[in-house]
Protein backbone atom coordinates (compact mmCIF):
# COMPACT_ATOMS: atom_id res chain seq x y z
CA UNK A 1 0.00 0.00 0.00
CA UNK A 2 1.29 3.46 -0.88
CA UNK A 3 1.02 6.42 1.42
CA UNK A 4 -1.78 8.70 0.30
CA UNK A 5 -3.21 12.13 0.94
CA UNK A 6 -6.72 10.80 1.43
CA UNK A 7 -8.84 13.09 3.63
CA UNK A 8 -12.24 12.24 5.11
CA UNK A 9 -14.27 14.90 3.31
CA UNK A 10 -17.15 14.19 0.93
CA UNK A 11 -17.47 15.68 -2.57
CA UNK A 12 -20.82 16.08 -4.28
CA UNK A 13 -20.91 17.11 -7.95
CA UNK A 14 -24.09 18.67 -9.28
CA UNK A 15 -24.83 19.81 -12.82
CA UNK A 16 -27.74 22.23 -12.74
CA UNK A 17 -30.35 21.22 -15.28
CA UNK A 18 -33.57 23.05 -14.54
CA UNK A 19 -32.61 25.76 -12.06
CA UNK A 20 -33.97 24.43 -8.78
CA UNK A 21 -34.42 20.67 -8.88
CA UNK A 22 -31.02 18.98 -8.96
CA UNK A 23 -29.34 21.74 -7.02
CA UNK A 24 -32.24 21.80 -4.56
CA UNK A 25 -31.76 18.14 -3.70
CA UNK A 26 -27.96 18.23 -3.49
CA UNK A 27 -27.92 21.45 -1.44
CA UNK A 28 -30.34 19.96 1.08
CA UNK A 29 -28.30 16.76 1.29
CA UNK A 30 -25.01 18.61 1.68
CA UNK A 31 -26.43 20.80 4.46
CA UNK A 32 -27.82 17.83 6.32
CA UNK A 33 -24.59 15.82 6.08
CA UNK A 34 -22.64 18.80 7.41
CA UNK A 35 -25.09 19.72 10.17
CA UNK A 36 -26.26 16.35 11.43
CA UNK A 37 -23.19 14.21 10.77
CA UNK A 38 -20.41 16.79 11.14
CA UNK A 39 -19.01 15.90 7.73
CA UNK A 40 -16.79 18.18 5.69
CA UNK A 41 -18.70 18.47 2.43
CA UNK A 42 -17.60 20.10 -0.82
CA UNK A 43 -20.54 20.82 -3.11
CA UNK A 44 -19.30 21.38 -6.67
CA UNK A 45 -21.88 23.22 -8.80
CA UNK A 46 -21.56 24.17 -12.46
CA UNK A 47 -24.10 27.01 -12.39
CA UNK A 48 -23.75 29.24 -9.36
CA UNK A 49 -26.13 31.85 -10.79
CA UNK A 50 -29.00 29.37 -10.74
CA UNK A 51 -27.93 28.15 -7.32
CA UNK A 52 -28.18 31.76 -6.15
CA UNK A 53 -31.95 31.68 -6.67
CA UNK A 54 -32.35 29.32 -3.72
CA UNK A 55 -29.33 30.62 -1.79
CA UNK A 56 -29.56 34.38 -2.23
CA UNK A 57 -26.39 35.07 -0.20
CA UNK A 58 -24.28 33.11 -2.70
CA UNK A 59 -21.84 35.14 -4.79
CA UNK A 60 -21.96 33.61 -8.30
CA UNK A 61 -18.49 34.98 -9.06
CA UNK A 62 -16.76 33.51 -6.04
CA UNK A 63 -15.14 30.14 -6.79
CA UNK A 64 -15.16 28.90 -3.19
CA UNK A 65 -17.48 29.97 -0.40
CA UNK A 66 -18.96 28.36 2.68
CA UNK A 67 -22.59 28.41 3.81
CA UNK A 68 -24.18 26.36 6.56
CA UNK A 69 -21.01 24.33 6.96
CA UNK A 70 -20.85 23.34 3.29
CA UNK A 71 -17.95 24.42 1.09
CA UNK A 72 -19.47 25.42 -2.23
CA UNK A 73 -17.07 25.22 -5.16
CA UNK A 74 -17.57 26.36 -8.72
CA UNK A 75 -17.34 23.41 -11.11
CA UNK A 76 -15.90 25.07 -14.20
CA UNK A 77 -14.41 23.55 -17.36
CA UNK A 78 -11.59 22.77 -17.25
CA UNK A 79 -11.69 22.38 -13.49
CA UNK A 80 -9.67 25.30 -12.16
CA UNK A 81 -9.78 24.25 -8.51
CA UNK A 82 -7.81 21.34 -7.22
CA UNK A 83 -9.78 18.20 -6.45
CA UNK A 84 -8.38 16.02 -3.69
CA UNK A 85 -9.96 12.58 -3.28
CA UNK A 86 -11.89 12.32 -0.03
CA UNK A 87 -13.89 9.59 1.64
CA UNK A 88 -16.89 9.82 -0.68
CA UNK A 89 -17.44 11.05 -4.22
CA UNK A 90 -21.03 11.57 -5.33
CA UNK A 91 -22.11 12.31 -8.88
CA UNK A 92 -25.64 13.60 -8.50
CA UNK A 93 -28.27 12.47 -10.95
CA UNK A 94 -25.84 10.69 -13.26
CA UNK A 95 -23.88 13.84 -14.09
CA UNK A 96 -20.56 13.22 -15.85
CA UNK A 97 -17.70 13.87 -13.48
CA UNK A 98 -14.94 16.23 -14.67
CA UNK A 99 -12.08 14.39 -16.40
CA UNK A 100 -9.64 15.83 -13.84
CA UNK A 101 -11.53 14.05 -11.07
CA UNK A 102 -11.74 10.75 -12.92
CA UNK A 103 -8.05 10.96 -13.77
CA UNK A 104 -7.11 11.55 -10.14
CA UNK A 105 -9.10 8.68 -8.69
CA UNK A 106 -7.97 6.35 -11.47
CA UNK A 107 -4.33 7.17 -10.74
CA UNK A 108 -4.93 6.64 -7.04
CA UNK A 109 -6.51 3.27 -7.77
CA UNK A 110 -3.64 2.24 -10.01
CA UNK A 111 -1.12 3.30 -7.38
CA UNK A 112 -2.86 1.18 -4.77
CA UNK A 113 -3.99 4.21 -2.78
CA UNK A 114 -7.36 4.36 -1.10
CA UNK A 115 -10.02 5.79 -3.38
CA UNK A 116 -13.29 7.43 -2.39
CA UNK A 117 -16.53 5.48 -2.20
CA UNK A 118 -17.90 6.53 -5.58
CA UNK A 119 -21.68 6.85 -5.81
CA UNK A 120 -24.13 7.85 -8.48
CA UNK A 121 -27.04 9.42 -6.60
CA UNK A 122 -30.02 8.70 -8.81
CA UNK A 123 -33.45 10.25 -9.24
CA UNK A 124 -36.27 9.38 -6.89
CA UNK A 125 -38.77 6.84 -8.17
CA UNK A 126 -41.41 4.69 -6.51
CA UNK A 127 -41.17 1.96 -9.16
CA UNK A 128 -40.56 -1.63 -8.07
CA UNK A 129 -37.30 -2.03 -10.00
CA UNK A 130 -35.57 0.53 -7.78
CA UNK A 131 -35.19 -1.99 -4.96
CA UNK A 132 -33.39 -4.37 -7.33
CA UNK A 133 -30.92 -1.74 -8.53
CA UNK A 134 -30.20 0.17 -5.32
CA UNK A 135 -26.64 -0.31 -4.14
CA UNK A 136 -25.53 -2.42 -7.08
CA UNK A 137 -21.96 -1.89 -8.27
CA UNK A 138 -21.20 -0.43 -11.65
CA UNK A 139 -17.95 -1.99 -12.80
CA UNK A 140 -15.74 0.43 -14.68
CA UNK A 141 -13.21 -0.31 -17.39
CA UNK A 142 -10.56 1.30 -15.21
CA UNK A 143 -11.19 -1.23 -12.46
CA UNK A 144 -12.80 1.41 -10.25
CA UNK A 145 -16.12 0.55 -8.70
CA UNK A 146 -19.01 2.95 -8.71
CA UNK A 147 -22.28 2.17 -6.95
CA UNK A 148 -25.77 3.32 -7.80
CA UNK A 149 -27.62 4.85 -4.89
CA UNK A 150 -31.37 5.08 -5.41
CA UNK A 151 -33.57 7.17 -3.16
CA UNK A 152 -36.90 5.51 -2.52
CA UNK A 153 -39.92 4.90 -0.38
CA UNK A 154 -39.13 1.42 0.96
CA UNK A 155 -36.60 0.01 3.38
CA UNK A 156 -34.75 -1.69 0.52
CA UNK A 157 -33.92 1.64 -1.13
CA UNK A 158 -31.76 4.62 -0.24
CA UNK A 159 -34.54 6.53 1.54
CA UNK A 160 -35.80 10.09 1.29
CA UNK A 161 -34.12 13.35 2.19
CA UNK A 162 -35.68 14.65 5.39
CA UNK A 163 -33.84 16.63 8.04
CA UNK A 164 -34.12 15.18 11.55
CA UNK A 165 -36.03 18.14 12.97
CA UNK A 166 -38.12 18.95 9.91
CA UNK A 167 -41.40 17.26 10.71
CA UNK A 168 -41.50 18.55 14.28
CA UNK A 169 -40.66 22.07 13.09
CA UNK A 170 -43.39 21.87 10.48
CA UNK A 171 -45.93 20.68 13.02
CA UNK A 172 -45.10 23.51 15.42
CA UNK A 173 -45.40 26.01 12.57
CA UNK A 174 -48.78 24.74 11.47
CA UNK A 175 -50.11 24.62 15.04
CA UNK A 176 -49.01 28.19 15.70
CA UNK A 177 -51.17 29.60 12.88
CA UNK A 178 -48.38 31.71 11.40
CA UNK A 179 -49.48 31.45 7.82
CA UNK A 180 -51.19 34.80 7.39
CA UNK A 181 -48.20 36.59 8.90
CA UNK A 182 -45.95 34.65 6.59
CA UNK A 183 -47.95 35.64 3.52
CA UNK A 184 -47.61 39.27 4.63
CA UNK A 185 -43.85 38.80 5.06
CA UNK A 186 -43.72 37.56 1.48
CA UNK A 187 -45.37 40.79 0.35
CA UNK A 188 -48.71 39.15 -0.43
CA UNK A 189 -51.85 41.08 0.42
CA UNK A 190 -55.58 40.50 0.70
CA UNK A 191 -55.48 36.91 1.94
CA UNK A 192 -58.09 36.14 4.62
CA UNK A 193 -58.09 33.23 7.04
CA UNK A 194 -60.93 31.37 5.32
CA UNK A 195 -59.67 31.82 1.76
CA UNK A 196 -58.26 28.86 -0.17
CA UNK A 197 -54.54 29.32 -0.81
CA UNK A 198 -52.74 27.27 -3.45
CA UNK A 199 -49.03 27.32 -4.23
CA UNK A 200 -48.05 26.63 -7.84
CA UNK A 201 -44.64 25.46 -9.02
CA UNK A 202 -45.22 23.43 -12.16
CA UNK A 203 -44.18 22.99 -15.76
CA UNK A 204 -46.44 24.25 -18.54
CA UNK A 205 -49.86 22.58 -18.80
CA UNK A 206 -53.21 23.48 -20.32
CA UNK A 207 -54.85 22.27 -17.13
CA UNK A 208 -53.86 25.47 -15.35
CA UNK A 209 -55.98 27.67 -17.57
CA UNK A 210 -59.05 25.49 -17.01
CA UNK A 211 -58.50 25.40 -13.26
CA UNK A 212 -57.99 29.16 -13.09
CA UNK A 213 -61.20 29.76 -15.05
CA UNK A 214 -62.97 27.46 -12.63
CA UNK A 215 -61.54 29.19 -9.58
CA UNK A 216 -62.34 32.64 -10.93
CA UNK A 217 -65.99 31.70 -11.37
CA UNK A 218 -66.40 29.89 -8.05
CA UNK A 219 -67.93 31.00 -4.76
CA UNK A 220 -64.82 30.58 -2.66
CA UNK A 221 -62.01 33.13 -2.77
CA UNK A 222 -58.89 31.42 -4.14
CA UNK A 223 -55.34 32.77 -3.99
CA UNK A 224 -52.82 31.22 -6.37
CA UNK A 225 -49.23 31.90 -5.31
CA UNK A 226 -46.81 31.58 -8.22
CA UNK A 227 -43.10 32.31 -8.52
CA UNK A 228 -42.02 33.98 -11.76
CA UNK A 229 -41.15 31.03 -13.98
CA UNK A 230 -42.52 28.30 -16.20
CA UNK A 231 -45.99 28.06 -14.67
CA UNK A 232 -46.74 31.57 -15.91
CA UNK A 233 -46.40 30.39 -19.52
CA UNK A 234 -49.70 28.59 -18.99
CA UNK A 235 -51.42 31.59 -17.41
CA UNK A 236 -51.22 33.99 -20.36
CA UNK A 237 -55.02 34.39 -20.31
CA UNK A 238 -54.76 35.85 -16.83
CA UNK A 239 -51.39 37.58 -16.87
CA UNK A 240 -50.17 39.40 -19.96
CA UNK A 241 -46.82 37.75 -20.74
CA UNK A 242 -45.59 40.98 -22.35
CA UNK A 243 -45.83 43.09 -19.23
CA UNK A 244 -43.08 43.56 -16.69
CA UNK A 245 -43.63 41.21 -13.80
CA UNK A 246 -42.41 41.69 -10.27
CA UNK A 247 -42.86 39.77 -7.03
CA UNK A 248 -45.79 41.01 -4.99
CA UNK A 249 -47.95 41.86 -8.01
CA UNK A 250 -51.52 40.60 -7.84
CA UNK A 251 -53.87 39.83 -10.73
CA UNK A 252 -57.55 39.48 -9.83
CA UNK A 253 -60.13 37.66 -11.94
CA UNK A 254 -63.47 37.15 -10.22
CA UNK A 255 -62.83 35.01 -7.16
CA UNK A 256 -59.27 34.22 -8.21
CA UNK A 257 -56.27 36.30 -7.18
CA UNK A 258 -52.93 35.32 -8.70
CA UNK A 259 -50.00 36.56 -6.60
CA UNK A 260 -46.42 36.64 -7.87
CA UNK A 261 -44.10 35.24 -5.26
CA UNK A 262 -40.62 36.46 -4.44
CA UNK A 263 -37.86 33.85 -4.61
CA UNK A 264 -37.11 32.44 -1.21
CA UNK A 265 -34.47 30.17 0.22
CA UNK A 266 -35.33 26.53 0.86
CA UNK A 267 -36.58 27.15 4.38
CA UNK A 268 -38.84 29.87 3.04
CA UNK A 269 -40.23 27.54 0.39
CA UNK A 270 -40.90 24.88 3.01
CA UNK A 271 -42.87 27.42 5.03
CA UNK A 272 -44.85 28.37 1.97
CA UNK A 273 -45.81 24.73 1.42
CA UNK A 274 -46.72 24.34 5.09
CA UNK A 275 -48.96 27.42 4.84
CA UNK A 276 -51.03 26.63 1.74
CA UNK A 277 -54.17 24.50 1.53
CA UNK A 278 -53.04 22.73 -1.63
CA UNK A 279 -49.59 22.64 -3.23
CA UNK A 280 -48.95 22.06 -6.90
CA UNK A 281 -45.35 20.92 -7.22
CA UNK A 282 -43.06 19.50 -9.85
CA UNK A 283 -39.98 17.37 -10.43
CA UNK A 284 -38.33 15.88 -7.36
CA UNK A 285 -37.32 18.40 -4.71
CA UNK A 286 -40.58 20.31 -4.36
CA UNK A 287 -42.49 17.03 -4.78
CA UNK A 288 -40.80 15.59 -1.71
CA UNK A 289 -41.11 18.81 0.29
CA UNK A 290 -44.83 18.87 -0.47
CA UNK A 291 -45.10 15.44 1.13
CA UNK A 292 -43.31 16.68 4.25
CA UNK A 293 -45.69 19.67 4.30
CA UNK A 294 -48.51 17.25 5.11
CA UNK A 295 -50.97 19.02 2.84
CA UNK A 296 -52.87 17.75 -0.22
CA UNK A 297 -50.83 18.23 -3.37
CA UNK A 298 -50.74 17.68 -7.11
CA UNK A 299 -47.50 16.36 -8.57
CA UNK A 300 -46.55 17.63 -12.02
CA UNK A 301 -43.92 15.04 -12.84
CA UNK A 302 -41.07 15.74 -15.27
CA UNK A 303 -42.40 14.67 -18.68
CA UNK A 304 -40.60 11.79 -20.37
CA UNK A 305 -40.66 10.24 -23.82
CA UNK A 306 -43.53 7.86 -24.60
CA UNK A 307 -45.38 9.10 -21.50
CA UNK A 308 -43.08 7.02 -19.31
CA UNK A 309 -43.53 9.60 -16.55
CA UNK A 310 -47.10 8.36 -16.14
CA UNK A 311 -45.74 4.97 -15.09
CA UNK A 312 -43.65 6.70 -12.43
CA UNK A 313 -46.64 8.75 -11.36
CA UNK A 314 -48.83 5.65 -11.07
CA UNK A 315 -46.15 3.86 -9.04
CA UNK A 316 -46.01 6.69 -6.54
CA UNK A 317 -49.76 7.09 -6.34
CA UNK A 318 -50.20 3.37 -5.67
CA UNK A 319 -47.88 3.68 -2.67
CA UNK A 320 -49.32 6.95 -1.45
CA UNK A 321 -52.94 5.80 -1.67
CA UNK A 322 -52.69 2.26 -0.40
CA UNK A 323 -54.51 3.04 2.86
CA UNK A 324 -56.58 5.98 1.67
CA UNK A 325 -60.35 5.61 1.29
CA UNK A 326 -60.93 4.29 -2.27
CA UNK A 327 -63.29 7.06 -3.38
CA UNK A 328 -60.87 9.75 -2.18
CA UNK A 329 -57.88 7.93 -3.65
CA UNK A 330 -59.59 7.52 -7.01
CA UNK A 331 -60.43 11.21 -7.25
CA UNK A 332 -56.95 12.31 -6.18
CA UNK A 333 -55.26 9.91 -8.61
CA UNK A 334 -57.49 10.96 -11.49
CA UNK A 335 -56.78 14.62 -10.72
CA UNK A 336 -53.03 14.01 -10.82
CA UNK A 337 -53.21 12.01 -14.03
CA UNK A 338 -55.45 14.61 -15.64
CA UNK A 339 -53.17 17.47 -14.62
CA UNK A 340 -50.17 15.66 -16.08
CA UNK A 341 -52.04 14.98 -19.31
CA UNK A 342 -53.16 18.57 -19.69
CA UNK A 343 -56.84 17.80 -19.19
CA UNK A 344 -59.13 20.81 -19.00
CA UNK A 345 -62.90 20.46 -18.59
CA UNK A 346 -62.59 16.86 -17.37
CA UNK A 347 -60.37 18.03 -14.54
CA UNK A 348 -62.90 20.34 -12.92
CA UNK A 349 -65.22 17.76 -11.31
CA UNK A 350 -62.12 15.95 -10.05
CA UNK A 351 -60.87 19.15 -8.46
CA UNK A 352 -64.25 19.56 -6.78
CA UNK A 353 -64.10 16.00 -5.43
CA UNK A 354 -60.62 16.54 -4.07
CA UNK A 355 -61.55 19.83 -2.40
CA UNK A 356 -64.62 18.18 -0.91
CA UNK A 357 -62.33 15.48 0.50
CA UNK A 358 -59.74 18.04 1.65
CA UNK A 359 -60.03 17.11 5.32
CA UNK A 360 -59.57 13.40 4.60
CA UNK A 361 -56.63 14.09 2.31
CA UNK A 362 -55.03 16.35 4.89
CA UNK A 363 -55.39 13.70 7.57
CA UNK A 364 -53.78 11.18 5.23
CA UNK A 365 -51.02 13.63 4.32
CA UNK A 366 -50.20 14.08 8.01
CA UNK A 367 -49.68 10.35 8.49
CA UNK A 368 -47.76 9.80 5.27
CA UNK A 369 -44.27 11.18 6.18
CA UNK A 370 -43.60 8.61 8.92
CA UNK A 371 -44.72 5.83 6.61
CA UNK A 372 -42.63 7.09 3.69
CA UNK A 373 -39.45 7.53 5.70
CA UNK A 374 -39.68 4.02 7.16
CA UNK A 375 -36.85 3.48 9.62
CA UNK A 376 -34.44 6.15 8.41
CA UNK A 377 -34.05 9.13 6.10
CA UNK A 378 -31.70 9.24 3.11
CA UNK A 379 -28.73 10.90 4.83
CA UNK A 380 -28.79 8.38 7.66
CA UNK A 381 -28.96 5.46 5.24
CA UNK A 382 -26.29 7.01 3.04
CA UNK A 383 -23.83 7.42 5.89
CA UNK A 384 -24.44 3.81 6.92
CA UNK A 385 -24.11 2.65 3.30
CA UNK A 386 -20.71 4.31 3.07
CA UNK A 387 -19.61 2.73 6.36
CA UNK A 388 -20.58 -0.68 4.98
CA UNK A 389 -18.85 -0.15 1.63
Amino acid sequence: MHNHTHTPHWDIFCAVVDNYGDIGVTWRLAKQLAKEYGLAVNLWVDDLASFGHILPALDPKCPTQTFEGVCIKHWDLPLSQDYQPGEVLIEAFACELPPEVLCKITKAHQAGDKVPVWLNLEYLSAEDWVEGCHGLPSLQRSGLKKQFYFPGFTDKTGGLICESDLLATRQRWQESEQRLNYFTQLGLSGIAADDTVISLFSYETASLEALCQHWSQGKQQVHLLVPIGRSLNSLATFIDPQQDLAPGQRFCHGKLAIHLLPMTDQQGYDRLLWSCDVNIVRGEDSFLRAQWAAKPFIWHIYPQEEDYHLIKLEAFMALYCHNLAPEVADAWKALNIGFNQGSQEALLPLWQQVITAHAALTQHAQKWPDEAINDADLATRLVQFVKNS
Binding site: W129, L136, S138, L139, R141, Q304, E305
Partner: protein, 186 residues
Protein backbone atom coordinates in the same frame (compact mmCIF):
# COMPACT_ATOMS: atom_id res chain seq x y z
CA UNK B 1 -17.11 0.20 -28.13
CA UNK B 2 -20.80 -0.13 -27.39
CA UNK B 3 -23.02 1.72 -24.96
CA UNK B 4 -24.59 -0.25 -22.13
CA UNK B 5 -27.91 0.33 -23.84
CA UNK B 6 -26.67 -1.56 -26.91
CA UNK B 7 -25.29 -4.56 -25.06
CA UNK B 8 -27.33 -7.75 -25.42
CA UNK B 9 -27.40 -11.07 -23.65
CA UNK B 10 -24.69 -13.21 -25.22
CA UNK B 11 -22.26 -10.33 -25.70
CA UNK B 12 -18.90 -10.53 -23.98
CA UNK B 13 -17.57 -7.33 -22.47
CA UNK B 14 -14.24 -6.43 -20.90
CA UNK B 15 -14.43 -4.90 -17.42
CA UNK B 16 -11.71 -4.56 -14.83
CA UNK B 17 -9.34 -6.59 -16.99
CA UNK B 18 -11.66 -9.61 -17.23
CA UNK B 19 -14.01 -10.87 -19.94
CA UNK B 20 -17.65 -11.13 -18.81
CA UNK B 21 -20.45 -12.79 -20.67
CA UNK B 22 -23.73 -10.89 -20.45
CA UNK B 23 -26.42 -13.25 -19.26
CA UNK B 24 -29.28 -10.83 -18.76
CA UNK B 25 -30.03 -7.19 -19.39
CA UNK B 26 -32.88 -5.12 -18.02
CA UNK B 27 -33.34 -1.52 -19.11
CA UNK B 28 -35.34 0.90 -17.04
CA UNK B 29 -35.79 4.63 -17.14
CA UNK B 30 -34.58 6.99 -14.50
CA UNK B 31 -35.43 10.68 -14.36
CA UNK B 32 -35.23 12.94 -17.41
CA UNK B 33 -35.32 10.05 -19.88
CA UNK B 34 -31.99 8.61 -18.75
CA UNK B 35 -31.71 4.85 -19.22
CA UNK B 36 -30.38 2.55 -16.53
CA UNK B 37 -29.21 -0.89 -17.57
CA UNK B 38 -29.00 -3.68 -15.03
CA UNK B 39 -26.94 -6.66 -16.16
CA UNK B 40 -26.21 -10.11 -14.89
CA UNK B 41 -22.63 -10.94 -15.84
CA UNK B 42 -20.52 -14.06 -15.62
CA UNK B 43 -16.77 -13.75 -15.30
CA UNK B 44 -15.22 -16.09 -17.83
CA UNK B 45 -11.93 -16.35 -15.94
CA UNK B 46 -13.29 -16.97 -12.47
CA UNK B 47 -16.63 -18.61 -13.32
CA UNK B 48 -18.39 -16.22 -10.92
CA UNK B 49 -21.52 -14.15 -11.52
CA UNK B 50 -22.48 -10.65 -10.46
CA UNK B 51 -25.25 -8.14 -10.95
CA UNK B 52 -24.23 -4.66 -11.97
CA UNK B 53 -25.81 -1.41 -13.08
CA UNK B 54 -24.79 1.06 -15.75
CA UNK B 55 -25.98 4.32 -17.16
CA UNK B 56 -27.41 3.66 -20.61
CA UNK B 57 -24.70 5.79 -22.21
CA UNK B 58 -21.76 4.17 -20.39
CA UNK B 59 -19.29 2.89 -22.94
CA UNK B 60 -17.85 -0.58 -22.70
CA UNK B 61 -15.54 -2.75 -24.72
CA UNK B 62 -17.46 -5.43 -26.57
CA UNK B 63 -14.93 -8.22 -27.15
CA UNK B 64 -15.01 -9.74 -30.59
CA UNK B 65 -14.67 -13.44 -30.01
CA UNK B 66 -15.04 -16.27 -32.47
CA UNK B 67 -18.66 -16.70 -33.47
CA UNK B 68 -20.48 -19.25 -35.54
CA UNK B 69 -23.95 -19.22 -37.04
CA UNK B 70 -25.79 -22.19 -35.57
CA UNK B 71 -29.29 -23.49 -35.12
CA UNK B 72 -30.75 -24.86 -31.93
CA UNK B 73 -30.75 -28.64 -31.88
CA UNK B 74 -31.91 -30.01 -28.51
CA UNK B 75 -31.72 -29.62 -24.75
CA UNK B 76 -29.67 -32.07 -22.67
CA UNK B 77 -30.03 -30.75 -19.14
CA UNK B 78 -28.16 -28.54 -18.23
CA UNK B 79 -26.81 -27.96 -21.75
CA UNK B 80 -28.42 -26.42 -24.79
CA UNK B 81 -26.96 -28.03 -27.90
CA UNK B 82 -26.49 -26.01 -31.06
CA UNK B 83 -25.28 -27.20 -34.48
CA UNK B 84 -23.41 -25.41 -37.26
CA UNK B 85 -23.83 -25.87 -41.02
CA UNK B 86 -21.32 -28.72 -40.96
CA UNK B 87 -23.27 -30.58 -38.26
CA UNK B 88 -20.73 -29.89 -35.52
CA UNK B 89 -22.43 -29.71 -32.14
CA UNK B 90 -21.69 -27.19 -29.41
CA UNK B 91 -22.93 -27.36 -25.82
CA UNK B 92 -23.82 -24.13 -24.04
CA UNK B 93 -24.65 -24.07 -20.33
CA UNK B 94 -28.24 -23.10 -19.64
CA UNK B 95 -27.02 -20.46 -17.16
CA UNK B 96 -25.06 -18.75 -19.89
CA UNK B 97 -28.09 -18.30 -22.09
CA UNK B 98 -29.68 -16.02 -19.51
CA UNK B 99 -32.83 -14.39 -20.86
CA UNK B 100 -32.26 -15.88 -24.31
CA UNK B 101 -33.38 -19.25 -22.98
CA UNK B 102 -36.94 -17.94 -22.89
CA UNK B 103 -36.99 -17.89 -26.69
CA UNK B 104 -35.39 -21.28 -27.30
CA UNK B 105 -38.04 -23.73 -28.52
CA UNK B 106 -37.88 -27.09 -30.23
CA UNK B 107 -37.90 -26.80 -33.99
CA UNK B 108 -36.88 -23.16 -34.08
CA UNK B 109 -35.24 -22.24 -37.35
CA UNK B 110 -33.75 -18.84 -36.54
CA UNK B 111 -29.99 -18.59 -36.91
CA UNK B 112 -28.29 -17.93 -33.56
CA UNK B 113 -24.70 -16.91 -33.02
CA UNK B 114 -22.70 -19.12 -30.70
CA UNK B 115 -19.73 -17.33 -29.13
CA UNK B 116 -16.49 -19.11 -28.24
CA UNK B 117 -13.87 -18.21 -25.66
CA UNK B 118 -10.67 -20.24 -25.67
CA UNK B 119 -12.36 -22.89 -27.80
CA UNK B 120 -15.37 -23.30 -25.51
CA UNK B 121 -18.90 -22.31 -26.49
CA UNK B 122 -19.84 -19.77 -23.85
CA UNK B 123 -22.93 -17.95 -24.98
CA UNK B 124 -25.61 -17.61 -27.60
CA UNK B 125 -26.94 -14.47 -29.18
CA UNK B 126 -30.40 -14.61 -30.67
CA UNK B 127 -31.52 -12.69 -33.74
CA UNK B 128 -32.85 -9.22 -32.91
CA UNK B 129 -36.34 -10.40 -33.73
CA UNK B 130 -37.99 -13.76 -33.27
CA UNK B 131 -41.48 -14.92 -34.15
CA UNK B 132 -43.29 -16.99 -31.54
CA UNK B 133 -46.79 -18.35 -31.06
CA UNK B 134 -48.94 -16.92 -28.27
CA UNK B 135 -49.99 -19.97 -26.26
CA UNK B 136 -52.28 -18.07 -23.93
CA UNK B 137 -53.66 -14.60 -23.48
CA UNK B 138 -56.96 -13.32 -22.12
CA UNK B 139 -59.48 -12.25 -24.77
CA UNK B 140 -59.49 -8.55 -25.59
CA UNK B 141 -61.27 -6.75 -22.79
CA UNK B 142 -61.79 -3.39 -24.41
CA UNK B 143 -61.77 -4.10 -28.12
CA UNK B 144 -58.82 -1.74 -28.47
CA UNK B 145 -57.15 -1.79 -31.89
CA UNK B 146 -54.65 1.03 -31.36
CA UNK B 147 -51.90 -1.19 -29.96
CA UNK B 148 -51.49 1.14 -26.96
CA UNK B 149 -53.49 -0.95 -24.52
CA UNK B 150 -51.39 -3.90 -23.37
CA UNK B 151 -52.10 -7.19 -21.63
CA UNK B 152 -49.96 -10.17 -20.54
CA UNK B 153 -49.41 -13.15 -22.82
CA UNK B 154 -47.55 -16.45 -22.60
CA UNK B 155 -45.57 -17.52 -25.65
CA UNK B 156 -44.24 -20.87 -26.82
CA UNK B 157 -41.35 -21.71 -24.53
CA UNK B 158 -43.17 -20.35 -21.48
CA UNK B 159 -42.02 -16.72 -21.38
CA UNK B 160 -44.54 -14.02 -20.60
CA UNK B 161 -44.57 -10.51 -21.99
CA UNK B 162 -46.93 -7.62 -22.64
CA UNK B 163 -48.71 -7.67 -25.97
CA UNK B 164 -51.24 -5.41 -27.64
CA UNK B 165 -54.82 -5.92 -26.51
CA UNK B 166 -55.88 -7.16 -29.97
CA UNK B 167 -53.50 -10.18 -29.92
CA UNK B 168 -55.24 -13.55 -29.54
CA UNK B 169 -54.16 -16.99 -28.37
CA UNK B 170 -52.65 -18.78 -31.36
CA UNK B 171 -51.39 -15.60 -33.04
CA UNK B 172 -47.78 -15.48 -34.19
CA UNK B 173 -46.06 -12.34 -32.90
CA UNK B 174 -42.72 -10.62 -33.46
CA UNK B 175 -40.65 -9.98 -30.33
CA UNK B 176 -37.58 -7.81 -29.91
CA UNK B 177 -35.14 -10.09 -28.07
CA UNK B 178 -33.09 -7.13 -26.81
CA UNK B 179 -35.93 -5.49 -24.97
CA UNK B 180 -38.33 -8.42 -24.70
CA UNK B 181 -41.00 -6.18 -26.16
CA UNK B 182 -43.86 -7.13 -28.44
CA UNK B 183 -43.33 -5.52 -31.85
CA UNK B 184 -46.29 -6.59 -33.99
CA UNK B 185 -48.45 -9.48 -35.08
CA UNK B 186 -46.50 -11.55 -37.62
Amino acid sequence: MKTAHEIRPGNVIMLDGSPWVVQKTETTRSGRNAAIVKMKLKNLLQDSSTETTFKGEDKMEDIILDRLDCTYSYFADPMYVFMDAEYNQYDVEADNLGDAAAYIVDGMEEQCQVTFYEGKAISVELPTTVVREVTYTEPSARGDTSGKVMKPATIAGGATLSVADFVKTGDMIEIDTRTHEFKKRA
